[in-house]
């Protein structure tokens, strides 16, 4: 590993540790989303302010407003209106160009943040004594001979279902005690582990462990990649989606986050005098 890669890994590691620490201080998902949205709203505005040409953006927006006003004032003069529409189009393009670079600075860290937070808030652990499915994709004929090794706290409640057409085996399992457990899938002489979270708290959940597909892994898995030469391609668990209750209705945290962070962003923009 190069020094740069090591530094990057350390930075990612410390970021995850800090986030884990921060999240562990809060156990209410709604409170987490609200605080996170406020923080991200502020961060987005500040970052945008620092990375954008505020003067140019101000001019671009003023010009857009002027052209819009022209459309209203001279609506009985078709050539002026048409000319203003053209200028509005050009002005919008100029504005988007000015906003693109700072948006890149904002979007990349926020995307990574969302991916990480989703591991905590996107799904709930399997409730104790509730059946769940563990699905393994196994290449070739090894699927027929795949077996499962379980800790004492996890039991199998039905024979596995072999889905030959999809190279899948599905086990129905049940966790009898809250905790984090490792189950082992053995196939083709290789063994792969998968973490199972049973309980009701706010653990970091990985719904799937897989091999290959780097970007897919980054966005969907929170576990190390499976060995490349293993016949086991992926192991997944059908964790229930987590809904955050707002006035009696449940919604995925991400919708709430988008709404609240936008609102926060608009408020902070005004307070800090940053043009967006």
């Amino acid at each position: 590993m190069t020094d740069q890669a090591a530094a990057k890994a350390a930075a990612v590691g410390s970021f995850q540790s800090s986030l884990s620490l921060a999240l562990s201080l809060l156990t209410n998902p709604l409170a987490i989303v609200v605080m996170l949205s406020l923080a991200v709203g502020l961060l987005m505005v500040v970052l945008f302010g620092y990375t954008s040409d505020q003067k140019a953006i101000g001019i671009a927006k003023d010009q857009l407003k002027a052209h819009l006003l022209a459309v209203r004032l001279y609506r009985d003069q078709i050539p002026v209106v048409m000319g203003s529409y053209g200028k509005i189009l050009r002005g919008t393009g100029r504005y988007l160009k000015l906003a693109f670079k700072p948006l890149l600075y904002v979007v990349i860290p926020i995307t990574l943040l969302i991916v990480e937070v989703d591991r905590y808030l996107g799904a709930t652990p399997i409730p104790a004594n509730t059946p769940f499915l563990l699905t393994a994709h196994i290449s070739g004929s090894d699927a027929n001979d795949a077996t499962l090794q379980l800790p004492a706290e996890i039991t199998m409640t039905a024979p596995p279902v072999h889905i030959v057409a999809d190279n899948e085996i599905v086990w129905r399992l049940l966790g009898t005690k809250e905790g984090k457990y490792e189950v082992k899938v053995a196939a083709g002489g290789q063994i792969a582990e998968k973490t199972v979270c049973v309980g009701s708290d706010l653990p970091r959940i990985s719904t799937v462990r897989m091999r290959g597909h780097f970007w897919q892994r980054v966005f969907t898995s929170a576990e190390p990649a499976l060995t490349e030469n293993s016949p086991i391609e992926s192991i997944s668990i059908n964790y229930p989606d987590r809904d955050i209750a707002i006035t009696g209705y449940g919604m995925n945290w991400i919708w709430l986050f988008f709404i609240l962070s936008m609102v926060a962003g608009f408020i902070f923009k005004e307070l800090l005098g940053i043009k967006i």
């Binding site: 059946p131 499915l133 039905a158 024979p159 596995p160 279902v161 072999h162 889905i163 030959v164 057409a165 999809d166 599905v170 086990w171 129905r172 059908n238 009696g248």
Partner: protein, 651 residues
């Protein structure tokens, strides 16, 4: 002067306190146990199986409760709700007819689409919203309690769909449709080539193909009225069957679950798209893998209205069904939750039906365990359906004279009904621990039970006796209501479980019987003849009572129902086909159906049950006494149209 003012003030305050004390401290608990039979109850009490009922009887009273005419649940519970008979509340049967069109409809509610629509190609765009309308008339006792500020809770009261506006929490019961708008339509998927595919009574059989151990098929949802042809909306799902083991994975929308052969799933939410973006309806259903190999057999329950996202109003406030579902999990919302049709169609066997029935009762008990501890004032009404539906289906296992009796099955499940009775006793035990001196407890049933061994086909009898005339070449087996009837030569017809109607001029579309003397004479003639009908096998009287509407009904709707009510002897009931206006070839048939116990008979032969922790003064209490009793308990005078009296007042 000051002294006078002080005295007045003291009097005012004490009066207010006294009034407040009456309302605030009185409590009333009613357990409505559909079909709780006095004879069975007495027997189980004598056997020591119902210790809490025995305790209640020892402390208070146990009476036979005169049921409604006819003794059918929607009628009986409407009597309870309004304190009136069918002439007042307008519910005469499960099924009513429009005399002008002879269209049949459910008696208690009507769900209609929007009045105005716009057709665009194959799409029908609604211009307004549809309506769900309750067809029962008269004020419900909890409406009156609301008006007087008495808190109330009403769980699954029959004949209350959509639930009437109420201040308290209430959940609709019997009469609530499934998502398809029926009283419950199951679906049975099989690859058996010999299976009779298509609609069966209460369900639908769908032929599927198991290809590479996978079944790809559709859930059948409500008719899509957004489409021109109103074909049912569907939702695809797949089942992957293990090649060797009797186990399968079901994949529906974003839900996956594994079922072993003989296992039930929990409630699975499903969503049917009626129109992209704007028109989706949500329901819930359960899956049962009856067989994986060698034949694939999968039962899917009727799709119930999702209590968390109800497509139709099922509770007050509307959020209540969602709140309850959060506390106890998803539950049956369909009015008649026990799938009796799946058992009679042979899709479920006795064991499977009983498993499903136990799930229903377990849901009721979970709801009870959540709601009863919250009860501190006013009225608490809680309804149980299990004894009724299980008596209907399991009676044959306790009745060797039943044509449907099977000794082997009786040995396996003959005690099933008794187990349900014992569970109700356990619920009563929970209630008894909370009774104080200010609490009045009533345990009541709408009717009792009797064996249903033989079917009497009233319309066939009327046909054979010249009261109905059919057109030449009429198909005897047609199941269409009144198919090929020559109304210009038909004087009377049977409809519903007990209804006998005259073809009255001016009321029916092609009425020929003059109201008044001619109608009265015709009814007398038919009464005499029907009472004389004997079972050729043993000479038993088949019909023991005919009540004329003019004699037994009072109120504004007394003349909108049947003209006479046929009261069958114990052991007899109207046949399934005749109640919908068909003409089976035989007048009397053995009932070999699993539905082997019933109560739609002579009302004097199937009384209900009434128990209280207080002394019941009324010697022959009736269902219509319940509403006046409730009101009297809270110091409220009964309304003028109520027929009954308080049970606790000497008459």
């Amino acid at each position: 002067m000051l002294g006078l003012c002080a005295a007045g003030l003291i009097l005012f305050v004490s009066c207010e306190r006294a009034r407040g004390g009456t309302f605030a401290s009185r409590k009333m608990i009613i357990l409505g146990v559909d079909g709780l039979d006095p004879d069975l109850l007495a027997k189980f009490m004598a056997d020591g199986k119902m210790p809490n009922f025995a305790k209640l009887e020892a402390k208070g009273s146990f009476r036979r409760l005169t049921t409604s005419i006819p003794p059918q649940s929607p009628v009986a519970w409407s009597n309870v709700i309004t304190g009136m008979n069918a002439g007042g509340h307008g519910i005469f049967d499960f099924i009513h007819r429009d005399p002008k069109t002879f269209q049949l409809y459910f008696s208690t509610s009507r769900v209609e689409g929007p009045k105005h629509t716009l057709t665009l190609g194959n799409w029908v765009v609604p211009l307004g919203s549809g309506t769900a309308e309750q067809l029962r008339y008269g004020k419900a006792f909890w409406e009156i309690l609301d008006e007087h500020g008495v808190p109330n809770y009403v769980y699954r009261m029959p004949a209350n769909f959509p639930p009437i506006t109420a201040k308290g929490e209430s959940l609709s019961g019997m009469g609530t449709p499934d998502l398809r708008g029926t009283y419950g339509t199951f679906t049975f998927y099989t690859d058996d080539p010999t299976a009779a595919v298509g609609a069966v009574e209460g369900g639908e059989v769908v032929q599927v193909e198991v290809k590479n151990n996978r079944v790809a098929t559709n859930l059948i949802g409500p008719d899509n009225t957004f489409r021109k042809n109103a074909a049912p909306a569907t939702e695809p799902f797949t089942v992957d069957v293990d090649p060797l083991e009797p186990v399968a994975r079901v994949d529906v929308e974003d839900h996956q679950f594994v079922l072993k052969e003989g296992e039930w799933s929990g409630w699975i939410p499903v969503e049917f798209e009626l129109m992209p973006v704007i028109g989706n309806v949500k329901g819930i259903c359960r899956f049962y893998l009856k067989q994986a190999h060698p034949r694939f057999q999968l039962y899917v329950s009727p799709i119930n209205i999702d209590p968390k996202n109800p497509a139709l109003p099922i509770s007050t406030p509307t959020s209540y069904s969602r709140d309850l579902a959060k506390e106890i999990g998803e539950f049956h919302t369909q009015g008649i939750a026990e799938d009796t049709k799946a058992l009679t169609d042979g899709v479920l066997d006795d064991k499977e039906f009983l498993e499903q029935s136990h799930t229903v009762l377990a849901e009721h008990r979970r709801a009870f365990d959540v709601e009863f501890p919250k009860f501190h004032e006013g009225l608490f009404f809680f309804y149980f359906s299990s004894l009724d539906l299980n008596a209907h289906m399991m009676w044959r296992l306790t009745d060797p004279q039943s044509p449907a009796y099977d000794a082997a099955l009786a040995a396996q499940n003959g005690g099933a009904l008794e187990e349900f009775y014992e569970q109700i006793d356990q619920v009563l035990g929970e209630v008894l621990t909370k009774i104080d001196n200010n609490t009045t407890l009533l345990v009541l049933s709408d009717h009792g039970f009797a064996p249903y061994r033989h079917s009497f086909n009233l319309n066939t009898w009327l046909l054979n006796n010249g009261y109905i005339t059919r057109k030449a070449g009429a198909n005897g087996d047609s199941s269409e209501p009144f198919a090929d009837v020559d109304w210009s030569r038909t004087r009377t017809y049977g409809l519903g479980l007990n209804g006998l109607y005259l073809n009255i001029r001016g009321r029916e579309r092609e009425g020929i019987v003059e109201p008044g003397a001619q109608a009265d004479a015709l009814l007398q003639e038919i009464r005499e003849k029907l009472l004389a009908v004997r079972d050729p096998k043993d000479g038993s009287q088949v019909i023991t009572r005919i009540d004329f509407a003019s004699e037994v009904y009072q109120g504004p709707y007394a003349h909108s129902g049947p003209d006479a009510l046929v009261g069958y002897n114990r052991g007899y009931r109207a046949g399934w086909k005749t109640i919908l206006g068909a003409f089976p070839p035989e007048v009397l048939e053995d009932n070999t159906n699993a539905w082997s116990g019933d109560h739609c008979m002579d009302y004097t032969k199937v009384p209900g049950v009434l128990l209280s922790n207080r002394k019941i003064e009324a010697q022959t209490p009736a269902l219509t006494d319940i509403a006046p009793t409730i009101l009297a308990e809270f110091g409220i005078a009964k309304t003028t149209d109520m027929k009954g009296h308080s049970l606790f007042q000497a008459r």
